[in-house]
């Protein structure tokens, strides 16, 4: 453990001090003996494996749940938060990994929702607008307050969340995996915003699995392992692999290169696919792509440029025109279920919305989509025994951290939910995998394991359509990269020929070119 108590900085008052925090859930010790000190005016990163207890700790600090043991001290004062509103009153705000904005309300309405300013009981929009404008100016955010949130991209939505938290008077900001959904350019903008906040004396605590950015922007780093804080360090005292070692307790596996050539059989053939969008502009326009057996085609792009519509159209969930052929079978007019049977599998963009039944046990979640498979049937009934058996296999093979296969899905940490969703898609041995952000929210160790799974399935002939905001993942896995911008494929690139920076400029539409 390397701790700094340098004189000038060490003198800063503590914004947050957690000591001896413990929190149990049935069958799980989510937090125990946690000690965390966050200096005022700093960016403090929290890293750790999936299920290490990071989100649990932050929810405790934000008053969403009460700790079983330990104390919370904010700005030198001991606190007993009974609800988030207590925490907000103490100047703490939290931006959740899954945004909580109302799509059909405007940006302004979303920001004031829950803390509506009023003058003698009358909604005072004018002063709210002034206040928000000045907050936005101070953090360098440029948002149109009068458009509905549904028109915003992910990065902008996140900024709305941040402004909302600031509008409620937060001086200590908690961000749970804020960069998981952002492309590098947006990440830079986010950190610029956070730096300004910190310069103004605010304090930022953020959770991330992306160690490079943690090392780049944070002042202090706390490492959590198995429910407790195990180390405190600073970016200048450690490097990426050292940090990973602290997190997982062992060295990172190095990714294996490609050993088999791309096959010749066309597994997925997309011809002139078009999806209608809002206001007459197509969400996906005239996309034609071919993926061969053993090939990984990466789709690069800022979220909201048609990737979601493309994937859901391939699955027959979103209506589209054009043709889709899977393994030589034209599935254009087929149902979603028939497309899965033809060999598709899907790792969804949003595991909560599209992937999981949160209150149902894991084995029912793992069964979802496979319930028509005769292996999981006994006549007209569900064969619970084989379904549970199969779930146990997924749990072991993908390292899902859970007390048992009957645990409800909501009790798993975000990364472990993701592992289950990934496992469910891969155990069907699909011929085409549509993978959207397959390692979103997964820690570095488990990420390598998921990549290995995808690679070995690929070596066995699986074709992959990979959508990812993680450029390292895209460049490392893909055989070909197609850039998607404004619903169209604007470039097709060879990952060996380009750098992450170049790819970034393609994604924002700064460079457009047919092929390279």
């Amino acid at each position: 453990m390397s701790t700094h108590t340098s004189s000038q900085d060490g003198q800063r008052p503590l914004a947050v001090q957690l000591s001896g925090i413990g929190k149990r859930f049935p069958g799980v010790i989510a937090n125990h003996d946690v000690a965390l000190t966050v200096r005022e005016g700093t960016i403090h990163a929290i890293v750790g494996e999936n299920g290490a207890g990071k989100s649990t700790l932050m929810k405790t600090l934000y008053g969403m749940q009460q700790p079983d043991t330990g104390t919370i001290t904010v700005n030198g004062e001991m606190q007993h938060f009974r609800s988030p509103s207590d925490a907000i009153a103490a100047g703490i705000g939290m931006v959740h990994q899954h945004f909580m904005l109302a799509d059909n309300l405007t940006v302004l309405e979303n920001i004031i929702l829950g803390s509506e300013p009023n003058r003698r009981g009358v909604l005072d929009l004018k002063s709210a607008r002034e206040q928000i404008t000045s907050i936005m100016a101070s953090v360098g955010a440029d948002l149109d307050l009068d458009i509905p949130v549904s028109e915003l991209g992910v990065g902008e939505r996140q900024r709305v969340e941040i402004v909302k938290v600031l509008f409620r008077g937060a001086r200590i900001l908690i961000l749970d995996e804020p960069t998981a959904v952002l492309v590098p350019e947006e990440v830079d903008e986010l950190f610029a915003t956070l730096h300004r906040l910190v310069e103004d004396g605010a304090t930022v605590i953020f959770i991330s699995h992306k160690l490079d950015e943690v090392l780049k922007v944070s002042d202090d780093i706390t490492v959590m392992r198995q429910g407790t804080t195990v180390a405190e360090t600073r970016p200048d005292a450690i490097d990426r692999s050292g940090l990973a070692e602290l997190m997982v307790g062992s060295e990172l596996p190095s990714p294996a290169g490609r050993s088999t050539p791309v096959g010749t059989a066309i597994r997925l053939d997309i011809a002139k696919l078009t999806v209608e969008g809002k206001e007459g502009r197509p969400a996906v326009e005239d996309v034609s792509l071919r993926i061969h057996s053993g090939e990984i085609l990466g789709i690069a792009g800022v979220e909201g440029n048609g990737q979601f519509e493309l994937c859901t159209a391939l699955l027959g969930i979103t209506e589209s025109t054009g043709n889709v052929t899977v393994d030589g079978r034209d599935v254009t007019d087929e149902s979603t279920r028939a497309r899965y049977e033809a060999g598709l599998a899907y790792i969804p963009f949003d595991r909560h919305r599209e992937g999981l039944m949160l209150t149902a046990p894991l084995w029912e979640n793992a069964l979802l989509g496979r319930e028509d498979d005769v292996d999981f049937q006994r006549g007209p009934f569900v064969n619970a025994a084989t379904a549970r058996q199969s779930t146990t296999e997924i749990i072991q093979r993908f390292g899902v951290l859970t007390p048992s296969e009957t645990t409800p899905a909501f009790a798993l940490s975000g990364g472990n939910q993701q592992k289950l969703v990934v496992g469910r898609a891969l155990v069907t041995s699909p011929s085409v995998l549509i993978a959207a952000h397959p390692t979103r929210g997964i820690d570095v160790g488990a990420q390598a394991a998921v990549w290995d799974e995808i690679r070995s399935a690929r070596d066995n002939g699986m074709a992959v359509l990979l959508v990812s905001a993680d450029l390292e993942e895209l460049l490392g896995l893909s055989d070909t990269i197609a850039v998607m911008f404004d619903g169209r494929i604007t470039a097709t690139l060879n990952p060996d020929d380009i750098t992450a920076a170049e790819l970034g400029s393609y994604m924002t539409g700064a460079v457009q070119e047919a092929t390279k």
């Binding site: 990994q97 497309r339 599209e354 979802l368 798993l412």
Partner: protein, 378 residues
Amino acid sequence: MTTDAAPTGGPLAKILTPSRASGLRTSATTLASSLLAVLIALTISAALLALTGKNPIDAYSTIIQTGASANKLLEMMRRATPLIFSAVAVAVGFKMNIFNIGVQGQYLFAALIAAEAGSHLGLPLPIHIAVIMIVAVVAGAAWASIAAYLKVSKNVHEVISTIMLNYVALSVIQWLFENFFRDDRDGGLNVKTTLLPDSARMPDIVDGRLNGMFIVALIVVAIFWLVVYKSTFGFKLRASGFNATAASTAGISARKMTVIALLISGGVSGFVALQSVMGEAFAYGPNATPTEFGFAGIAVALLGRNHPIGIVVSALLFGFLDSTSAELQLALVPNSIVKVIQAIIVLTVVIVNEATIRRMNIRTAERARAELAAGGAS
């Protein structure tokens, strides 16, 4: 979407799909909260009685005394029978967040068609009864199919369509009845369809007190349990209720499930009035066929938390309360107090359920704290 690990769903979804966090403890708590709701309702009703100048103790002792006799217990079962069917019909929909408010229209339509069809047939006893049941199920499903059609092709919310269809059903039934099915051969004193022949009459289990429909109700509940909780189809149904987007992403067609759920719901509705049609009035008649079981079924399903056993117990409770109304009147207590108690039970169920979920979370935390203090943290 809220946070990393919070269950989704609106407040209504929370009530309808009890948290399954820790199996047994949850069912025990669910039971306790339903009991608590009943107790609270009785207390509030006692206060209401006292306010109106009646002695609540007298009223309640009348209720309890009447229940003590074997005959009253039979009456309780008799009255529970249509409630069980109605509640199962509602619960099938609730399981996938479909709100079939139209059970009333569906079962009355089914009763008319089944009674009329049954009177024209000449079949041996068990077959005749079975055919009438099938006709009733098909007719109930047919009426519900209108709402299903409106939902999937015109995107009309089923709450709106089924409520409206209740009114439509009443008019259609009246028109059919008055123009085609009315049989005045007994001089028009008792306005009904043609009386069913003996072969179409449901045998009594206990002479003149309880007929075989009670057994049929228990069988339907058992089938409901098997289908919803154990079958592959039921898995799809519940998956659509848990998370409709995830279910359709997994290839479970929301349209198909909606249609099937509404049809099953309507089909089960078909049974509701058969106790009267085949066992008591032996015909359909505007004055003979009870009309109040549609909404009562919603209340019973809510109190029973859509669970098979819960539904049976709740229906028996409601049946019991209903069975006391005659005695209450004799004791000069307004028998509408029974309806008041039932209404308050349903309201408190909804409120108490929320409160227990919260209490349970606090208790879990306390238990954990105790364990931690005892040195469990390692």
